[in-house]
């Protein structure tokens, strides 16, 4: 029921070079923006998800589809560094895990500084960190990225 047909996923699979099912837990590896691709396995284990790889020009998309109905996309530059994450699903995922402690804290601080009683999308844009989240229970979507770490030639529009 929560699984749905996904044209985007089908497209990703046609590109993939590897399909990792039930990614292994990689000990102390901890996911975070700015971290390495090892963190993808940590996230996949956390989400009990299936990882698919979709290499593209200048980056590789690691897409984790969890049985919970969540889809998490992590974007790794060719040096293995994660420069963007995207998520969608029925609930807000563990953002501390996805963003890492440093950017999770930035997100919380930025939300606290906004005008009182804001209800609506959360959009935080700073020179080194961008966070966007919209939706409501049953349908949350968001993305976060590090503008300075996005490989040249890669449009931020593809981070979703």
């Amino acid at each position: 029921m929560v699984k749905r047909s996904s044209p985007q996923l089908a497209a990703a699979c046609s590109l993939m070079v590897a399909c990792v099912v039930g990614a292994t837990v990689s000990g102390s590896a901890h996911a975070e923006l700015g971290g390495t691709v090892a963190s993808v396995e940590s996230d996949a284990a956390h989400l009990k998800g299936v990882v698919r790889l979709a290499p593209a020009q200048a980056y590789t998309l690691h897409e984790i589809e969890a049985a919970t109905g969540h889809i998490v996309r992590e974007y790794a530059a060719d040096d293995g560094k994660i420069f963007g994450v995207g998520w969608e699903g029925p609930t807000v995922p563990d953002l501390r895990q996805l963003l890492g402690e440093q950017y999770f804290t930035k997100f919380q601080q930025a939300v606290a500084k906004r005008q009182s009683h804001r209800r609506g999308p959360v959009v935080i844009e700073t020179s080194d960190f961008v966070f966007e989240q919209t939706g409501r229970l049953r349908d949350f979507r968001g993305r976060a990225y590090l503008p300075r770490a996005v490989p040249s030639g890669v449009g931020i529009g593809m981070i979703r």
Binding site: M1, T91, L95, P121, R136, L137
Partner: protein, 490 residues
């Protein structure tokens, strides 16, 4: 205006009955036996042919019987006290009397007002006024509020009318801030349990925060409409368990005070029957928790036990509702009043008229198209302060800075025309304007039809969209003259 007078009348009846109980009947020389009979009927106002549940409180001294016999001045009444109102063509008061079977000289009565079919029993006032007075200078911009009467299940006396509850078509279910946390809810409501018998506690997620607290059962009145034994969330009662990390890690603030929540509660009356739906029924997600005395663990909850849409639980007028708000000045207003009208096509006052029906997908989304680009996950949400759409780069509008960031701050008010298309293929253009959010907010007014902000990838039609419109919210799976919900119509 008529409605306000009406509400006063009802509370007058209830208060009158309640006050009569204090004395306990005759004093002094009363011998053993029944001293008084008090009658309460809920609801105190019904539609022609409708039903009201009446109960009798019998007081006495020594050995006495609490048995009563029921009579009514019109319609019929069962031995159990259930009144079936007469069919009437004008407003008719009906007197219900309970007489002690032990002492026929002791009786009590209550009046039930019977309204003709088609009269506006399904209308409930709403207001945009800055929110609870307790917020002070930290008032709420573009917040839509109403009053909700909450009762312990089955009781008509252990009740509270809670004002400034946020009306949110983007969420489902009733949530009330506990008195302990600075809200008003102080009733002792029966706890709802998880499948393992432990208390069921919820992490309700919003975009920039969450509410944490147990699920309890309550009778919810919106005007005369009653939803019985509704699972609701009690936010931050004194004995709430600690917030689990999987809830806290959704990232926003814990909305556990009046100043953080900005309201005494939230009335979620969106498109769905319950708040989370199948996802939370089939999986243990970070929304529902079974909390033992030592820890809280995520748990799956059948849809019927999740927090419910109270409108869907009304006995009538339960297929949806209309949010009615008038047009307002572009400069903003200090306050705006409007109505919730329950039911779609169930009464003379809630027909679809000329409104077009835009069906949604299973998540409540439809498509908005602007300048040839389509955004297929767009939605309508009275709980959003503004209309959120596109980006500064696409709209050409400058973004605001500082505490206003996320809103648009154009030098001159700018108009946009967008085409909305339902999943049923019905299309229509909507036009709205965007003014400088900083100027608007700094004016200290409370209601704006032109407050807007950025949102890449989808349109979020917040409260400004509702001004000057009748917006119909059709509940999933329910039949209406416009087809089966979920859909929006306007």
């Amino acid at each position: 205006m008529r409605l306000f007078g009406f509400l006063v009348l009802i509370s007058g009846v209830v208060l009158g009955v309640g006050c009569g109980g204090g004395g306990g009947g005759d004093s002094g020389t009363t011998p053993a036996g029944v001293t008084s009979v008090r009658v309460t009927c809920t609801p105190a106002t019904v539609r022609s042919g409708g039903t009201s549940h009446c109960s009798a409180a019998v007081a006495g001294s020594g050995n006495y019987s609490t048995a009563v016999s029921w009579t009514t001045s019109a319609g019929s009444i069962a031995a159990s006290g259930v009144l079936t109102a007469p069919l009437v063509s004008s407003i008719t008061p009906v007197t219900v009397t309970a007489t002690s079977t032990q002492d026929g000289s002791r009786s009590g009565s209550a009046t039930v007002t019977v309204n003709p079919a088609g009269s506006a029993q399904n209308v409930h006032p709403i207001v945009v006024d800055g929110g609870p007075p307790g917020l002070g200078a930290d008032y709420y911009v573009n917040g839509l509020f109403t009053s909700v009467r909450v009762c312990e299940p089955g009781s008509t006396s252990r009740c509270q009318t809670i004002d400034h509850v946020l009306v949110d078509t983007g969420a489902v279910g009733v949530r009330m801030l506990s008195a302990a946390a600075g809200g008003q809810l102080g009733l002792s409501l029966p706890a709802h349990t998880a499948s393992d018998g432990n208390p069921l506690v919820q992490c309700m997620q919003f975009l920039d925060g969450f509410t944490w607290g147990p699920i309890a059962l309550a009778d919810i009145y919106l005007g005369d409409q009653l939803a019985s034994s509704v699972p609701i969330q009690v936010i931050a009662p004194a004995d709430a368990p600690a917030v689990p990390s999987s809830c806290r890690n959704t990232g926003g603030s814990n909305e556990n005070t009046l100043s953080r929540l900005g309201a005494n509660g939230i009335l979620g009356i969106g498109l769905f029957l319950e708040d989370c739906g199948d996802s939370c029924a089939q999986q243990a997600l970070n929304v529902y928790y079974s909390c033992s005395t030592s820890s809280c663990v995520e748990t799956a909850v059948p849809t019927a036990r999740q927090v419910q849409n109270p409108v869907a639980m009304f006995s009538n007028d339960n297929n949806g509702l209309i949010v009615q708000l008038p047009s307002i000045a572009n400069a903003g207003q200090e306050s705006v009043t409007g109505s919730l009208v329950f039911g779609i096509g169930t009464q003379p006052n809630n027909g679809l008229g000329n409104a077009a029906v835009y069906t949604t997908d299973a998540r409540g989304n439809f498509t908005a198209t602007y300048n040839g680009a389509s955004y297929s996950s767009s939605f309508i949400d009275s709980g959003s302060n503004g209309i959120f759409f596109l980006s500064a780069a696409v709209t050409g509008l400058p973004a605001c800075q500082g505490i206003y960031s996320g809103f648009y701050c154009p030098a001159t008010e700018t108009t946009f025309t967008v085409t909305n298309t339902g999943r049923n293929g019905v299309s229509g253009a909507v036009t709205f304007s965007v003014a400088n959010a900083q100027t608007l907010i700094d004016s200290k007014r409370k209601a704006f039809n032109n407050l807007a902000g950025v949102l890449a990838g989808r349109f979020d039609y917040g409260l400004p969209f509702f001004f000057g419109r009748n917006v119909y919210v059709a509940i999933e799976g329910r039949n209406t003259p416009g087809g089966v919900g979920p859909y929006w119509a306007y």
